[in-house]
Every structure is written in structure tokens, then in C-alpha cells.
Subunit: 432 residues, 2 copies
């Protein structure tokens, strides 16, 4: 009953197995190439965000002081923004969009959106110069710009399939997002201090930005390396942060009837800016680590491919000249808990395949862990969306509802968000 | 203070925006091409799984009956398996692994693993013919093979970025996985019926396979279209299923001391096989829907790209000959809840960008929803892994622990699994 046709196929099967082992390594190298260009795009993006945040801060100060303050600083910052923007445009125009392993459709769409928003920049600058725009509309425009650039970073992090790089991208995304909330706190705080008072609504809004910051920076500290976490702790212990804590108390306790001295606005701006600039320095450290990890991984993968091919070649020679090709036995377990040994040490095809299988498992687990905060963010965003649509409320109100529900039930925000979505999925008919 | 250098950049900005809108569409078409070849690979894989399941069933029956039964059926099935295998090999050998937009590293690794396991097939067939292999070792070998093919389907579903196709792939994956648990139930039930009795351990194992089946088929029915869900209900209402329910009760109530009539083994085999074959018919329906959805999406995306390019061209002509190019205003909202209108209707660049942005949001939400069961499966697998390693128990015991905890606390399995992982992540130092 032994089947002859399959037996004659066996040598071919082994060749095909080798073929796909090599294919897997090559695909890994391609995805690392992709990650490296992603990281370079992310780097350009964070630079641009930083300048636009500064420009937002300065133009707000210029507006609220009726042009008395920061006029020259604003002009200088615009020139600086334009220089960084020119670099950003040069970078993205050099991307080869016809290459099939280039960015995803979403990344390109996000770039298109952000560019389109950018087209309005000269008009808004013009309006600022003529005092034809309110400070909140000005803040709103820059914040939308920032959101669109943050979306580029998020899409990039979401597509990474390497756990270490994903972890760094998640760290970076949270740092940049936290920094943006710090920028918003600066902007709205400045408006209040310059006006000399804060309404309850303004106080609540600023508090929300503080909470978002704490959450983002918390995730950053959790997922980043010892070196980066230390750099962040230094920001948290800096004079600027200590001064900020005092100023925050001032905002919290400010009553509508008591006017604050308007000179406080300059102190507020200087303090928040010092802290944001320090955060930017940490951002640069993350980018450096990201690029060096990317390059190192690429180097190792290339090396492994060479070793891999050499190993397969010697296996092949061995089996042809000395002894029969080592063939698989049906009793081995590809899921055993043995250490992942080096491919160089593998002496049989069996070992090569096994090492690869164990590697996938280890990498998938690590990747799932690294992506958790990204997934959680998506769940919270989706839950907010559900509340916004079903109850016709703003994003801020939706977030506050989730937060209050979590506090009342002593649960995590993510658990409440999960519940909201479960219920929604249950009551809404699936789109078929 | 108006900045001249940025203003002169504006025309270029709009051109760059258009460039990236086109890039996004082209990237979408490329990812649909990828999905189509994925679906074809998945189709080949499900065919091979089906034949190997049959061969496992028949060789087990042949073994437990000491060669008295199913000898000719087994021989015929092996020929059939080899024919399907030849087609599968032809399919994967034709894949262009050097193309940069081909499959991911994981898919290739999974293929290599499965091929390598396959190399042992002639040896195991030989051992079956000589009665040199135990029925449980035989079952184990085929089950590992099946696992390796299921992994290919899972990796493919995990990489899809289209919500409709993801939903179908998730449906298919759960159907195939459920069918494999049905195959395992058939195999282990057959061993018991042929021996004439079931140990408590065997009863529990079979019950676990029944529970896994129910979970997988439940997810399948939840996520699939009305037509597919109806086809599945017909399987659930078939005579074979009703007969199976009676036989399951027999196994559940069987006591070690009372021997069951060994003729029951043939009834069991016929009944479970009829149900599995009916499930295979549903599988074929899913594949048909999957391929037709893929082709239709590709056609639409191509059409949209043409329209898109035509639209941009006319916008460009319009702005050059008749009036200034419509430029963005800083007050619009790209997140409004308006319907996603057709790109053909868009008359300004602003509308094109907006439509694209809304589309990403809608697609991301749908994709997140479609991927939920995949993510949940990964979480449950990870939680099982944590329990297996930390308590040094088998996969089956780990699963039972999760299930019992869920029942005791009246929670969903996924919530318990989430908790296990949270605690584990908390106590284990992050790998930095």
C-alpha cells in the first residue's frame, strides 16, 4: 500500500521547504527595510510637529496680547517652521509611491490629509497678523494639523511587525501625543492667564489635558527602556515641572471674580515651554534609539540570511555526497519550550524549521504585548465614537462619561470602553 | 509678516496632496492583489486539510480494526490526498517569493513548517500499513499537520486590511478550525467505540473538542452573511447532526465496566463523516464568496482610481484655466458625520481629501470589529501559554482552568484571559 508517487516527491518537498525558509528570511528583511523608511518618515513628522506647536504657542500669545508680545519671536519661528516643512516636503516627495513594498494606503491618505490642511497655513498666518482670527479658532487649526501628523505616526506604529520596534514606536507615539496635550494645556492656559481669569469650563478642559498627558506619559514610561525612562524622570523632576505643578494649582483654585495678574501669562508660557522643550529632547533620544535598533536588526537579518543559506547549502552537499538527507520523523514537537538556538548551530533541516517556528511564536507573543496599548487606544477611541453618535455629544463629554463610569465602578477605562462596544455590537445588526 | 516662501510653495502643496491621494488608491489596489493571492492560497490549503482529515479518519479505523476495515477506502483516499497535494505544491511553487509585495515572513515560515511535517507522511503511511504505529500517535501526527495548515490561514486573515474580506477570512478560519475539532472528535470517538469503552479522561477530552467546536461554529455563524449562516443552520439541523447528538450522549454516559457494541464504531464514523462532509460544503461556499468579494473589490478600486485621476485632472484644468484652485479653509471639520459620498461627485480637492479621511475612519472601525475574534483568540492562546509555562500543565488543562474560572465568576472566557495576561505582564519585568 506504500504510495510511490508521494515518495518520489520527497526530495522535492525538502527543496521546497528550504525555498520557503529562505523566502521567510527575505520577507523579514523587506519588512525591516520598510520599517526603516517608516522611522525616517516618523522622524521628519515629529520635527514638524514640534515647530508647529511652538508656532501655535507664539501666535496665541501674539493674539491675546494684541500684538504687544512675541511679534519678533513669532516671525523667527515661522521661518524656522518653513525650513523644517521644506525638509519634510523634500522627504515625502522623495518617497517612491510606485514601489510595491512602500507605505500602506492609510499612511498615504493621512499624508494627503495633513498636506491639505497645511495649505491653509499662509491664510491663517495672514489672519493672525491682522487680528482677524480668534485665539480659539487659531488653536483649533493648529491642533487639527497636529492631529493629522499624529495619525501618520499611529498608522506607522500599527503596521510594524517587529516587537522591539513596535514597542519603541508605541513609546514614541505616546510621548508625542502627551507632548501635544502639554501643548494644548499651554495654549488654553495662556488664554486664561492673559484674560486674567478661568471659567469652570476652561478649568475642566485644562484638567482633561492634564489627565491625558499623565496617561500618555505613563504609558511611555511603562513601555520604554531604562535609559529612556530615566531621561523622562529627569523631565518630571525638573524645575520647570515643579513650577508647572504650582501654576496648575493656581488655575484650579482661580475663581471667576478674582482677576489673576496678567504678567502670569509670561511665566506660564516660559514654564510650559521649558517643559515641552525638555520633552522634545527625550523625543530625540527615542528617535535615535529607534533608528539604531532598526539598522542593527537589518544588519543581523542580513547576516542570518547568509548563514541560513550557507547552512542549507552544506546540508544539501552533505546529503548528496555522504549520507541520505536527514528526514523528518513524525514524533517531534515543534512547540517544545527549548531555548531558541542560533541558526548557525542548526545542523539539520529539522532544526532550521523548528527554530523558525519557535521564533514566530516568541515574536508574536512579544508583538501582541507591544501592541496592547495601541489596541487599547483604538478601543477607547471607538467607544468614544459610539457615545458621541448615540448620545449626540462632543468628544470631550464622551471621554468624561467613560472616565466617570470607570471611577464609579472602580474599573479600568479600557474595561468600560470594551463594555460600551460589546453592548453596541450586540444591539446593532452586523453589516452583511 | 506674511511669509513669502511658504506661499510660493502652495501650488506645489496641492500637487503633492494629489500625488498622495493617488498613492493611497494605488496602495489599496496592491493590497487587494495581495488579498486575492492570499485567498487562493487559503483555498488550496482548505482542500488539502479536508483530504488529510479524511485520511486520518480512515487510517485510524484501519488501525483499530487491525486492518479488517477501510483498507480499500484508505488506499483510495491516499491517492486522492496525493492528487490534492500535487495541486497544492504546484500552487505554492508558482508563488513569486522575490516579489516585494508577496506574503509575509510568517506565512512563508508556516508553509516551510507544514512542508517539513509533510515529509514524514510516506513513513507514517508505511508504519500504518505494517501496524507499527499506535492509533494515538497516528492521530497526533495528522493533527500536527492540520495545525500547521490552520496556522497558514490564520496568518493570512491576520494581515488582511479590508474589513469585508477580514470578516470572511475570520468566518472561514473558525469554520475550518471547528471542522478540525469535529475531525478530532471523530478520531478519538472512533478509538473509544472500537475499544468498546471510554475512560473518564477520554470522555473529558471528547467533551473539550465538542466545546471548542461549538465556540468556533458559534463565531462562524455570528460573523458570516445571512446566506452562509443559513447554510450552516442546515448542517446543524441535518439528520447527521441529530444522530451525532444521540451518539454523544452515549459517550457521555458510557461507563468503563459496560462494554459498548463495537459495531457502533461504524455508525459513529459514518455519522461524524457525513457531518464533516456537509461542513466542507459550507467551507466551499465561503471560499466562493471570498473570491467573488475579492474580485469585485479589485474591480471597484480600479474603477475608483480611474475616476479619481480623472477628477484630479479636471480640477487641475479648472483651476488653471477658469478660476483659482479651490484652497482649503481652516475651519472645516474632517471628522463630521456626513455620509461618505462617491468620489465621482467630489468637485474640489477638499472633498476628495475629506472623503478619503472619512473612509479610513469607517474602514478602521469595521476592521477593528472584524478582527475582534482574531484578537480574542490570540489573547486566549497567550493566556493558555502563560498558564502552561507558569504551572507546568498541558494545553488542555490550561484551557479547562480558564473555562472553569470563567464559569465560576460568570465572566466571558476572554475577560478571564485578559486578567491572566494583565497580572502576568505586571509581575514579569518588561524585556528591555
Amino acid at each position: 500500500m506504500f504510495n510511490q508517487s508521494l515518495t518520489t516527491n520527497m526530495f522535492d518537498l525538502a527543496t521546497t521547504t528550504e525555498h520557503f525558509l529562505i523566502a521567510a528570511k527575505k520577507a523579514e528583511i523587506r519588512s525591516l527595510d520598510y520599517l526603516l523608511s517608516s522611522c525616517q518618515l516618523v522622524q521628519s513628522t515629529t520635527e514638524l510637529i514640534h515647530e508647529l506647536q511652538k508656532e501655535r504657542g507664539l501666535s496665541n500669545s501674539f493674539l491675546v496680547s494684541s500684538g504687544e508680545r512675541f511679534a519678533s519671536e513669532l516671525q523667527a519661528e515661522r521661518t524656522q517652521t518653513d525650513a523644517v516643512l521644506a525638509g519634510f516636503l523634500q522627504h515625502i516627495r522623495a518617497l517612491d509611491i510606485e514601489r510595491s513594498d512602500s507605505f500602506s494606503s492609510n499612511v498615504y491618505s493621512r499624508i494627503a490629509s495633513s498636506l491639505h490642511l497645511l495649505e491653509a497655513l499662509p491664510a491663517i498666518r495672514d489672519k493672525v497678523d491682522r487680528f482677524e482670527v480668534q485665539v480659539d479658532a487659531n488653536t483649533d487649526y493648529y491642533s487639527r494639523l497636529m492631529e493629522s501628523y499624529l495619525a501618520i505616526i499611529f498608522e506607522t506604529a500599527d503596521l510594524s511587525t517587529d516587537p522591539d520596534i513596535t514597542r519603541l514606536l508605541v513609546a514614541l507615539f505616546n510621548l508625542v501625543q502627551g507632548k501635544e496635550y502639554a501643548g494644548l494645556e499651554r495654549a488654553w492656559g495662556l488664554i486664561g492667564f492673559t484674560a486674567g481669569h478661568f471659567s469652570t469650563l476652561e478649568q475642566e478642559r485644562i484638567q482633561t489635558f492634564q489627565e491625558h498627558q499623565a496617561r500618555c506619559f505613563g504609558i511611555f514610561a511603562d513601555v520604554s527602556s531604562v535609559k529612556l525612562a530615566k531621561a523622562w524622570r529627569e523631565v518630571e523632576c525638573s524645575n520647570a515641572t515643579q513650577e508647572l505643578v504650582r501654576l496648575r494649582v493656581l488655575i484650579e483654585r482661580a475663581l471667576l471674580k478674582e482677576a489673576l495678574p496678567s504678567s502670569m501669562s509670561e511665566v506660564w508660557f516660559a514654564t510650559t515651554t521649558a517643559r515641552i522643550d525638555a520633552t522634545r529632547q527625550v523625543e530625540i533620544l527615542v528617535m535615535e534609539e529607534l533608528l539604531s535598533v532598526c539598522c542593527e536588526k537589518q544588519r543581523l537579518a542580513q547576516q542570518e540570511l547568509q548563514r541560513h543559506m550557507g547552512c542549507l547549502q552544506s546540508l544539501s552537499l552533505h546529503s548528496e555526497t555522504l549520507s541520505p538527507r536527514p528526514s523528518a520523523t513524525f514524533s517531534f514537537s515543534i512547540e517544545s519550550e527549548q531555548d531558541i538556538s542560533n541558526f548557525a548551530k542548526a545542523t539539520t533541516l529539522y532544526e532550521l524549521v523548528n527554530n523558525q517556528a519557535k521564533r514566530i511564536k516568541a515574536v508574536s507573543d512579544e508583538l501582541a504585548k507591544a501592541k496592547r496599548t495601541l489596541e487599547e487606544r483604538k478601543v477607547i477611541e471607538r467607544a468614544k465614537g459610539v457615545i458621541m453618535v448615540s448620545q449626540k455629544v462632543s468628544e470631550e463629554v464622551a471621554y468624561q462619561q467613560l472616565r466617570k463610569a470607570a471611577m464609579n465602578k472602580s474599573k479600568r477605562l479600557i474595561d468600560i470602553a470594551e463594555n460600551v462596544i460589546s453592548v453596541y455590537d450586540m444591539v446593532s445588526a452586523p453589516s452583511k
